[in-house]
């Protein structure tokens, strides 16, 4: 392990420990033994295939979203618009999936639906990138505005066109576009897990082994320096935000193609914000993101698993604590002197 990697791992571990400590204090606050809470969370999740599958289901969406946020962070951009990008991906993916002829074979339907999901999210991400690169509009503010606008527009499209018979569910996608479930105790875990794993590996490779990866990380470290070696900062920012949005949109594969098989109101909600915790806890590295997605997925599902004696708001609050703890721990670690060897 290089000293840099070691420090990143240390920062993530410290942040996680601080979050567990704060979570324990919160548990005491609601009159629950922290030891019992953490143990039951682990025990129930590990022993019940359904709960374990739900962790994998959540982690799949979180990994794709975490990669989206991490990719943007690498280039010095903070994509908190993943929430809207997922909704756009879900909407486009489900619409294309439902519009395909019934007999479309999987070999055509799956790539088409994946492309639709990526295009939906990528269009939103690209818009944020263009506004940042060309107009200097801060991506955090435009992202929040677009999140609200997309949520409203998706609801309107749903109510006006897609939803059937008073439900908040649109037409089902064709059978060929469905991704098979993993069959873990009837849970929603599905084969889009493989897609997420491939995305992790692909991004890790592009990031460290290609000139693109170096260009976007150079822009993230120092835009002025990147400009002086001939990198077009505006172009990189736009492309990175488009790719970031496309990754977030791909989370629709998990929600639509793998689980609900239709557009539903609020599908995938909150995954975009959790993706921020995942990316930061994973220290923006694809492999770190994969591990962090499992951790946050476990926290999120584990909070529900012990819902009979711990309020679910406790783990919701921890998700904010994690982000703050990582932000603090990463700079604190950097300040510590390098140990002698």
């Amino acid at each position: 392990m290089t000293s840099n990697t070691r420090r990143e791992v240390q920062a993530a571990m410290i942040a996680l420990l601080v979050s567990v400590a704060i979570g324990s204090l919160l548990a005491l606050g609601v009159g629950v033994s922290p030891g019992k809470m953490w143990w039951e969370m682990l025990e129930r999740t590990a022993s019940d295939p359904y709960l374990f599958g739900q962790v994998l289901y959540k982690a799949t969406g979180l990994a794709l979203c975490g990669l989206a946020v991490a990719l943007a962070l690498d280039a010095g951009l903070f994509n908190i618009g993943a929430e809207g990008q997922i909704t756009a991906g879900v909407l486009v993916c489900a619409t294309v999936g439902a519009a395909l002829p019934d007999a479309t074979p999987a070999i055509l339907a799956i790539p088409l639906c994946l492309a639709a999901a990526a295009a939906g999210g990528g269009a939103v991400g690209g818009l944020i990138g263009v506004l940042r690169a060309k107009r200097g509009a801060h991506e955090v503010i435009t992202s929040i505005m677009l999140n609200a606008i997309i949520a409203g527009v998706a609801l309107w499209v749903g109510n006006a066109v897609l939803f059937r018979g008073g439900t908040t569910r649109g037409d089902a996608i064709v059978a060929g576009a469905e991704l098979p479930e993993l069959g873990l105790g009837g849970s929603s875990a599905n084969t889009s897990l493989v897609l997420a794993a491939l995305a992790v590996i692909a991004l890790a490779w592009v990031r460290s082994r290609t000139t693109w990866g170096h260009a976007w990380r150079a822009v993230g470290r120092d835009p002025a320096a990147a400009r002086s070696v001939g990198i077009s900062v505006a172009r990189v920012q736009t492309l990175v935000m488009t790719a970031s949005g496309a990754l977030a949109g791909l989370a629709a594969a998990n929600f639509v193609m793998g689980h609900k098989h239709a557009f539903e109101e609020g599908l995938g909600r909150n995954t975009g914000f959790l993706g921020i915790s995942v990316a930061l806890l994973g220290r923006s590295h694809p492999f770190g993101v994969a591990i962090a997605a499992l951790v946050i997925g476990f926290l999120s599902q584990g909070g529900l698993a012990v819902g009979d004696f711990v309020p679910k708001e406790l783990t919701e609050m921890l998700q904010g604590v994690v982000v703050l703890a990582v932000a603090g721990a990463s700079v604190w670690i950097k300040r510590q002197p390098e140990p002698g060897r």
């Binding site: 919160l26 606050g29 609601v30 903070f78 908190i80 506004l131 107009r135 200097g136 509009a137 801060h138 955090v140 503010i141 435009t142 929040i144 505005m145 677009l146 609200a148 606008i149 409203g152 527009v153 609801l155 309107w156 109510n159 006006a160 914000f273 921020i276 915790s277 930061l280 309020p311 679910k312 708001e313 406790l314 919701e316 609050m317 921890l318 998700q319 904010g320 604590v321 982000v323 703050l324 932000a327 603090g328 990463s330 700079v331 604190w332 300040r335």
Partner: protein, 288 residues
């Protein structure tokens, strides 16, 4: 629709709606003029709204609720300054982290206090009153007062120096950290009062009731070139869009009811894209 807009009642409504935006924008102006990126406005509003509603409910006094909201806003600002300046953490990330913490934290505290994670019990409220609502007066006085204080008081001069040339402050023996802390605390208290207006106008706190107002206020700060009074006035424009959206929704116009409430978001986005900023950011914004 036009008849609705051209009434005194509508003007009063716009003024009332603009209060949380304006107070958040004044907070954004003070914190950012002192050199600290302030994306935590949403968290200050939300914690302020929560503290105001719960304290007003517990003491049965909306006035004590306002004080509680201001204290909560200042507390979030103190936390923000500690992370951003003492630890030196990324200011954008700290801001967003505090907003996420406010979202989950207020829900957790609702559950802890009342055994329910969405709404607080009904307490005293200011309702639709404008002239007798103290928060409206806080907003009016803060708009003029902070703009005046920026150019005429030691607090304001040091604050602006901390944001533009902190090294100049150091040479005269003043700590830029302190100037930034005081700027953030005053701003935080004002944003907390803005949050109090959100919950005390109805007497109930609901989860996520700030609804992005903090981000819109920051967009107006940028539009106004980091000038507090101008930013507050720009916020009246957002409030106007919000009020029109609300009336379009209840008037049953041809605009779909799902889209009418989006008006302030669309307006903010357009303003950011078309105008960006009518001024320069503080020279040392985001640098420590």
């Amino acid at each position: 629709m036009i008849e609705t807009i051209l009434t005194i009642a509508f003007l009063a409504e716009v003024l009332r709606i603009s209060v949380p935006y304006a107070l958040a924008a004044i907070c954004g102006s003070t914190t950012e003029r002192a050199g600290v990126i302030d994306l935590a406005l949403e968290g200050k509003l939300l914690f302020g709204a929560f503290a105001a509603a719960t304290i007003a409910h517990a003491t049965d006094s909306a006035y004590i609720g306002v004080a509680g909201g201001m204290a909560a806003g200042a507390a979030v600002a103190a936390l923000q300054i500690w992370f951003a300046l003492r630890l030196g953490a990324d200011q954008v990330i700290v801001g967003v982290a505090l907003n996420l913490l406010a979202l989950g934290g207020t829900r957790f505290l609702l559950q802890l206090f009342y055994g329910e994670g969405t709404n607080s019990p009904r307490g005293p409220a200011f309702g639709d009153a404008v002239a007798t609502n103290p928060i409206v007066w806080i907003a009016v006085i803060a708009t003029a007062g902070v703009a005046f204080a920026f150019v005429r008081t030691r607090w304001g001069l040091r604050l602006r120096a901390a944001g533009d040339r902190p090294e100049a402050l150091v040479t005269v023996g003043v700590s830029p950290f302190r100037a930034r802390l005081y700027a953030a605390l005053v701003g935080g208290a004002l944003a907390g009062a803005g949050g109090a207006q959100i919950s005390l106008s109805v007497g109930v706190f609901s989860a996520d009731m700030s609804g992005g107002r903090g981000y819109m206020a920051l967009a107006m700060v940028i539009l106004a070139g980091w000038r507090p009074a101008w930013a507050a006035i720009a916020c009246v424009g957002v409030a106007c869009a919000s009020a029109i959206g609300f009336h379009l929704q209840i008037a049953g116009s041809s605009i779909p009811p799902e889209l009418a409430p989006l008006l302030p978001y669309v307006l903010t986005l357009l303003v950011l894209v078309i105008f960006g900023s009518l001024g320069k950011p503080p020279r040392s914004l985001g640098k420590i």
